[in-house]
């Protein structure tokens, strides 16, 4: 090969790198491990981390994932393919995305979905940018965002929107929900969009119809943020209020994606047909080939960075395709009835957990609003100590709200998905009883 190139050794191939910039290898990386050695190392670390019994939700949910989902998703033909630029050689990936788009539009009650964004938080940030571009009623660069919305979604949106001087205005919290009485105070402010998360970060169900209609009356678009698993049961964003949300987005993880320390997940985004040209990310369309047979291709690409460069709707290129593929397989296996069953089980299990824990002195519900599969519990002592004591017994007892919602006092957010058995809930209650000093 070297002779074909016309050099004596491989080092000659690097002769355009100026000598003063040459690195002296990478010795600090250390020696190579064999496959058996790295397997042993990783297994040791994984075992040390263990598998505690998890009652945390807070944006990532422990659902059962049928074996077929990732067995199929990690087939080499899905796993090791690139973005489907050569459509004729990528019909598999393209058709999966088309089916994915169909499932997401149906679940959310809106018209058009994209092929995925990075995660729920960035999908929300992109939805804010999209709303500012798409709103024809005003030129506002403000978004009204409930305090009941995920604190980390708000934080990520602030980081991503900062450069474009888009401001998030907070809608206050009242009894765990957005305070619709506070809308009057901002009625004179123009908003590009009003965001509504349902269920809220605190698990509660928002007055989605009231908020949606108020926003539209103000000339704002509505961004509906929703856990897609909840949408198997709950009224979808496309049906909120008189006209429905304009954009829906959220975290796709509950649909077949393991917790895996926070990623890879995927963000979904769906919108009304009229504003599809402001949507970020890839979109697949069905068309015909030159013999008139149906086939799939990436479409509406004039929105994207590789065509539009500095005037693109977003800089996103790589998305979360494989994860969206797994999610499509998951939804296909579950069907509407299976998803509804899981969602109902989550609701029932969290009720059972809340009832068991609130039977203990020192634990009570923070507010009475109905919830989907998460609830805030008020404790009579600092949450951190309670959660640490539970953790020492192999139970992740919930998410400590102290940093994000100091006004709630000693409060934790708990979640019991369909993966938790009655015995698991008893284990938690028994451990909590011990910590709170009572016999279970």
């Amino acid at each position: 090969m070297l002779a074909g190139i016309g050099v004596d050794n491989i080092a000659d191939l690097f002769d355009e790198i100026p000598s003063n910039l040459r690195a002296e290898g990478l010795d600090a990386i250390g020696p190579a491990l064999s496959e058996a050695e790295i397997a042993r190392l990783m297994q040791t670390r994984a075992r040390a981390d263990g598998e505690p019994l998890c009652f945390i939700g807070a944006g990532a949910y422990d659902h059962y994932v049928p074996a077929a989902v990732w067995d199929i998703a990690t087939r080499g033909e899905f796993y090791s393919a690139y973005t489907p630029y050569q459509a004729e050689a990528s019909q598999g990936t393209l058709q999966v995305i088309y089916e994915f788009q169909t499932m997401l539009t149906s679940l959310t009650g809106l018209d058009v979905a994209n092929a995925s964004l990075y995660d729920g938080a960035t999908a929300f940030a992109e939805a804010c940018l999209m709303a500012v571009r798409a709103n024809r009623n005003n030129k506002s660069r403000r978004i009204l965002v409930p305090r009941a919305m995920s604190p980390v979604y708000r934080s990520v949106a602030r980081a991503i929107l900062a450069g474009q001087k888009i401001e998030l205005v907070e809608l206050p919290l009242q009894d765990g929900c957005s305070d619709s009485a506070a809308l009057g105070a901002v009625a004179d402010t123009e908003f590009a969009a009003v965001a509504i998360q349902n269920p809220s970060f605190l698990g509660t169900l928002e007055q989605v119809d009231v908020l949606t209609d108020w926003a539209h009356a103000q000339g704002a678009l509505v961004i509906g943020v929703a856990n897609p698993m909840a949408l198997a049961l709950l009224k979808p964003p496309g049906q909120w209020g008189a006209d429905g949300a304009d954009i829906a987005c959220g975290e796709g993880q509950p649909l077949g994606i393991p917790l895996s320390s926070g990623g890879p997940y995927y963000g979904y985004m769906v919108c009304r047909q009229a504003i599809v040209r402001q949507m970020p990310g890839r979109i697949v369309g069905r068309t015909v080939d030159l013999e008139g047979n149906p086939g799939f291709t990436l479409t509406l690409q004039a929105r994207e960075q590789h065509i539009r460069r500095s005037r693109a709707t977003s800089n996103i290129c790589t998305n979360q395709g494989l994860v969206a593929t797994a999610s499509t397989i998951y939804m296909s296996l579950m069907g509407a009835a299976g998803l509804r069953r899981v969602a109902s089980d989550c609701n029932a299990n969290t009720r059972a957990l809340v009832d068991a824990l609130c039977a203990l002195p020192g634990i009570s519900r923070a507010f009475p609003a109905p919830f989907f599969h998460e609830a805030v519990l008020q404790l009579d002592r600092p949450a951190a100590g309670v959660l640490a004591a539970l953790s020492a017994q192999g139970i992740l007892g919930g998410y400590d709200l102290a940093a994000d919602y100091p006004e709630l006092g000693n409060a934790i957010l708990v979640c019991a998905t369909e993966t938790k058995s009655a015995a698991d809930i008893v284990s938690y209650a028994t451990a909590a009883a011990g910590i709170f000093g009572v016999a279970a």
């Binding site: 290898g25 990732w70 709950l234 015909v288 800089n315 979360q320 296996l333 509407a336």
Partner: protein
């Protein structure tokens, strides 16, 4: 045979998986949906068969040579996937007590350290979820740096005309203006134009080196001097890091911030479009602005550093800590290569590219930069063939599919007419490269003998060439019973 859309399966009442019933909901009716969302009604076997058949309609690294320039389609070792999917890693909640995550956090900490070594930078954050988000992090840090110094007028980002589209799109997302500078005929940047555009308005420059033209930017030392002297910073787009592993480093070249595409250089899968991972590395001056969280070591314990520890951070870019599962795969890959293996990656990637370039040149194809060494990729221009036969780069791309090769990147970079950007990667054999040359030669011969036949390609895929205009003008983006009947 054409695989039906999954909603077209006639399986009324079937369900692929039946969860246990724990109880019913007590949510009041006003919140409940009254319609049933459209979802497949298919048995588990039908689901498995449907998606397996769809997978077989894809080209992939596991099945074909995939020389897609700038995308680094190297083999993805299966062990990386196996170990990232150990049950304890999959079930770990991102907000779980770090006492139950020391193994995971140690792995992330060591990955941060290895990526620092590879890039010659002083600190790394793993949170960006793809290259474009790494770019966002980088430009946002550059802006934060200038703002922290009270230097608010620096709003321009300089980008070469050959840059990936994500570079200018990122600059816009960060609220910057884009200033494009041209490439000289030899593939290096036009230094005079660079000198002319830098000034007190310059926030920084975004560069890929080796560039998207497949050549090493030899003047990088001068470029760094010019931009730094003007008060700007240098951003390294790590798309082409594979070519220089252990040979040089962004830190040595004078870059202040770098992103790495772990799904390119460190062999995590592309998954039909993602997930990627765009970890960022910075030097001392940008360290305070790193996106959070990242892992720190306190004694013999590992912990997250977040806003409290990093008050000047640009903030969070993902709900949790980025694409953790992708990071685990990259870690396994790097540990299995070790120091020597990683340098051999660059050796063989560059050897394969230069060999393939020489073979194509000898076969009569026009190189875009015949006087230059290839880095890990190179460009040929089919302009003359197009002029003489009407067969263009897109026709070559489609015809290659019939030979069992994925096409190289076409029509990028935009400044080389009728171009193919070809990146063989280090994991291909000489046999595969020779086969590619034979296919290219055969297609060219056919172009001169019967151009129309090449324009008919592909003939062996599940579809013929697709009508992209119709796709955009009559968007059919969602299946409905009966559409496209």
């Amino acid at each position: 045979m054409k695989e039906p859309i999954i909603f077209e399966y006639d399986s009324v009442g079937r369900q692929g998986f039946t969860p246990e019933a724990a109880g019913e909901t007590d949510i009041p009716a006003e919140w409940l949906r009254t319609d049933v969302p459209l979802m497949p009604k298919t048995s588990e076997l039908e689901v498995v068969r449907h998606f397996t058949r769809l997978s077989q309609q894809n080209f992939s690294i596991d099945t074909q040579f995939y020389p897609l320039g700038s995308c680094t389609m190297k083999y993805n070792p299966r062990v990386c996937n196996r170990l990232a999917m150990l049950p304890q890693f999959l079930s770990r909640h991102p907000l779980g007590d770090v006492a139950h995550g020391q193994g995971f956090l140690q792995t992330m900490f060591e990955l941060q350290e290895m990526l620092q070594i590879v890039t010659g930078m002083q600190a790394v954050s793993l949170t960006p979820m793809a290259g474009a988000q790494g770019e966002f992090a980088g430009v946002a840090m550059i802006r934060a740096y200038h703002d922290a110094r009270g230097d608010h007028g620096r709003t321009q980002i300089i980008v070469p005309d050959a840059a990936h589209g994500t570079n200018p799109a990122t600059a816009t997302m960060c609220g910057c203006d884009v200033v494009e500078i041209p490439t000289a005929r030899n593939g290096d940047i036009d230094l005079e134009r660079l000198r002319a555009v830098v000034g007190p308005q310059t926030a920084g420059i975004m560069l890929t080196n080796p560039s998207t033209l497949g050549v090493f930017e030899r003047q990088i030392g001068e470029i760094a001097g010019i931009v730094h002297a003007a008060g700007g910073l240098l951003y390294y787009d790590g798309a082409n890091l594979n070519a220089i592993l252990g040979k040089t480093m962004p830190g040595l070249m004078g870059f202040d911030v770098v992103h790495m595409n772990l799904h390119k250089t460190f062999s995590t899968p592309h998954g039909g479009g993602g997930p990627g991972s765009g970890a960022v590395g910075v030097n001392e001056r940008l360290k305070p602005f790193l996106p959070v969280p990242f892992v720190v070591k306190e004694g013999d314990r590992y912990a997250w550093a977040a806003e409290d520890e990093c008050p000047q951070t640009i903030g969070r870019l993902s709900a949790f800590m980025g694409n953790a599962g992708v990071l685990l795969r990259a870690y396994v890959y790097m540990r299995m290569l070790g120091a020597k293996g990683m340098v051999r990656v660059a050796d063989f990637a560059v050897l394969n590219a230069n060999y393939l370039m020489a073979r194509l040149r000898d076969a009569g194809f026009d190189l875009a930069y015949p006087e230059r060494r290839a880095s890990h990729e190179f460009i040929i221009s089919l302009k003359q063939i197009e002029r003489e036969t009407g067969v263009n780069a897109m026709d070559f791309a489609k015809a290659l599919l019939d030979y069992g090769f994925h096409a190289p990147t076409t029509y990028f970079p935009l400044l080389v007419p009728e171009c193919l950007l070809i990146e063989p990667t280090e994991t291909e054999s000489r046999h595969a490269l020779d086969g590619f040359v034979a296919a290219m030669t055969a297609i060219r011969d056919m172009a001169y003998a019967d151009a129309d036949q090449v324009k008919q390609a592909p003939l062996t895929m599940t579809v013929r060439r697709l009508d992209d205009v119709r796709a955009a003008k009559q968007p059919d983006l969602v299946w409905r019973s009966g559409n496209l009947a």
